[in-house]
Amino acid sequence: MLFVQLLLGGVQNGALYALTAAGFALIFGATKVFHVAHGSAFTLAGYVFLYGWTHNWNSLLSCLAAVLVAVAFGVGMERLVYRPIQRHEGSFFTVFVAAFGVSIVVQNLVGVFAGRGFASIDTPLSNASEVLPELFLADVFWVAILVALVMFVALTLFLSRTNAGVALRALAQNPDLLRAYGLSSSRLSMLAFALGSALVAPAAILSAMTTGLNEAVGNHVMLLSMASTIVGGVGSLRGAALAGLLLGVAESVVLVFLETQWASAASFLVLFGFILFKPSGMFGAAVAK
């Protein structure tokens, strides 16, 4: 039963990882920006939700504020940091260092203003009940899976059925041709950042209800999203989401054999293995050296 319990816990976390990973993959695929500050959007969204909740805002309002802050952060990064660097042909590493700097700033600002250490909230959703003998499940499990599924269906429909979605996919494949057809790649980049960052908000809110948040949670989210994007195969949203789910499950199930401290090492070992032996990931096209 312990195994099933861990497996279900892993699926719950994995569903949330899948959302953040899909956001990262969407941004990286469309704009080729390695958005290392993705985790900061998660931290900010989570803490805004916590703030709203502890100040007795309407829960819908808290969620909305969380989404808005995440989107504003993503779009702000694109406009104020990535765009100026790309304008003078900065290398990918320039982008990486700048984004890493921002995530350090966000982590410490949150630490100063919201306090350090774990913060979480209790909702009726997070009370676990025994569904089978020795198997405990909270309602938040179903919420997490439902939210992840709804977001994916919505995202897939958006990318395949609407003009803006098709244009986003075109931007990922051939930005020059896109501009030749008179579409604005800068507005589409902003759209990619807005959408990608919005995807972390539900994950951040649900994490606040389950595992809790701390000021450094963004690092973990960023590393996992990055790992999932690479393991899943760059350019494949489905791959990233699936890899996020798998890493979540792996992190949890590995506890059957090993102690807690090894959990994250296990997922990074998987990442390391993929980069060495199959850098194109599970669903990606071959990577040029």
Binding site: I85, I104, F272
Partner: protein, 291 residues
């Protein structure tokens, strides 16, 4: 006061070694590693174990540390040969996280979270020597070696690989060997820095070898200017004197000093990248589109 400054100078020299060796990898070979603290840590544990169990001779400690870090640098060289750019950064992040877990879990060699304590002072022929002259010596030797290599054929080969790998390969340059050697040299240097750090602090634990430390060293290189000889040293001096400078600002509550310091690091990294991507000493016209 003298003790304070000699401590600061020793740390500057040790981090200077870290920064100039990382700069060799980043600036000359175009290998963007964010796992430099791993090899710093390997050197520190190796040096500490030598001093604790064999002899407090600092030269032996440094040699063994350099050897171990150099050999294990294969973990970094392998992905460097396979992938470039974002993928390599991701691989080095992965290596950093795995190594950190190993450092805190392989308790028989590293002492776990508690670390290794009571490391003896360095002695040469039964005479106790300070770490500062040793660190300055090591820094001087490394700077000279990097200067010599940068202007020799090896440095030129590396720069060629950095700027156009396929072209370098087409001209018959031994790409794989050159990359592996560059990584091994830089990591061995980090190992020496680690051994000196262990001897200086006479205590090491896993907290000195985290991702934050790797990023701090990276920030020194970036702030000073990648690909310059003395830029990383300037970066090391600036970033290490920041904490002491902040302690004069009494209006910051002591509990928040660490955070304020981190915020300044972070802001400096971001603003420099946006407005002056080649660093303080770097040539602003050269090196805009590396990698």
């Amino acid at each position: 006061m003298i003790a304070y400054f000699s401590n600061l100078a020793t740390l500057v020299a040790i981090f200077g070694i870290l920064a100039v060796t990382l700069n060799f990898m980043v600036g000359f070979a175009g290998i963007f590693s964010v796992a430099h603290a791993v090899f710093f840590g390997l050197g520190a544990y190796a040096g500490a174990q030598i001093a604790l169990t064999v002899t407090p001779n600092p030269f032996l400690a440094c040699a063994v540390a350099a050897g171990i870090a150099g050999v294990l640098s294969l973990c970094l060289a392998l992905p460097a040969l396979r992938v470039r750019g974002e993928y390599f950064v991701a691989a080095s992040l992965g290596l950093q996280m795995v190594a950190l877990t190993l450092f805190s879990e392989v308790k028989s060699l590293t002492g776990g979270i508690g670390g290794l304590t009571n490391i003896p002072r360095p002695q040469v022929f039964d005479v106790e020597v300070g770490v500062l002259p040793l660190a300055l010596l090591a820094l001087g030797v490394l700077l000279w070696a990097i200067h010599a290599m940068a202007n020799g054929s090896f440095g030129r080969t590396l720069k060629a690989i950095r700027d156009a790998e396929s072209a370098a390969e087409a001209l018959g340059k031994p790409v794989a060997v050159a990359k592996a050697l560059a990584v091994a040299f830089a990591c061995a240097g980090a190992g020496v820095a680690g051994a000196l750090f262990a001897l200086h602090m006479s205590f090491v634990n896993v907290e000195s070898f985290t991702l934050d430390q790797s990023v701090l060293v990276m920030a020194m290189v970036i702030v000073g200017g990648t690909g310059t000889l003395f830029g990383p040293l300037v970066g090391a001096v600036l970033l290490l004197s920041l904490p002491s400078a902040l302690s004069f600002l009494t209006f910051i509550p002591p509990t928040e000093v660490g955070s304020v310091q981190q915020i300044i690091y972070g802001l400096a990294m971001t603003l420099l990248m946006v407005f002056r991507p080649a660093g303080l000493l770097g040539d602003q016209n050269k090196g805009k589109s590396h990698a």
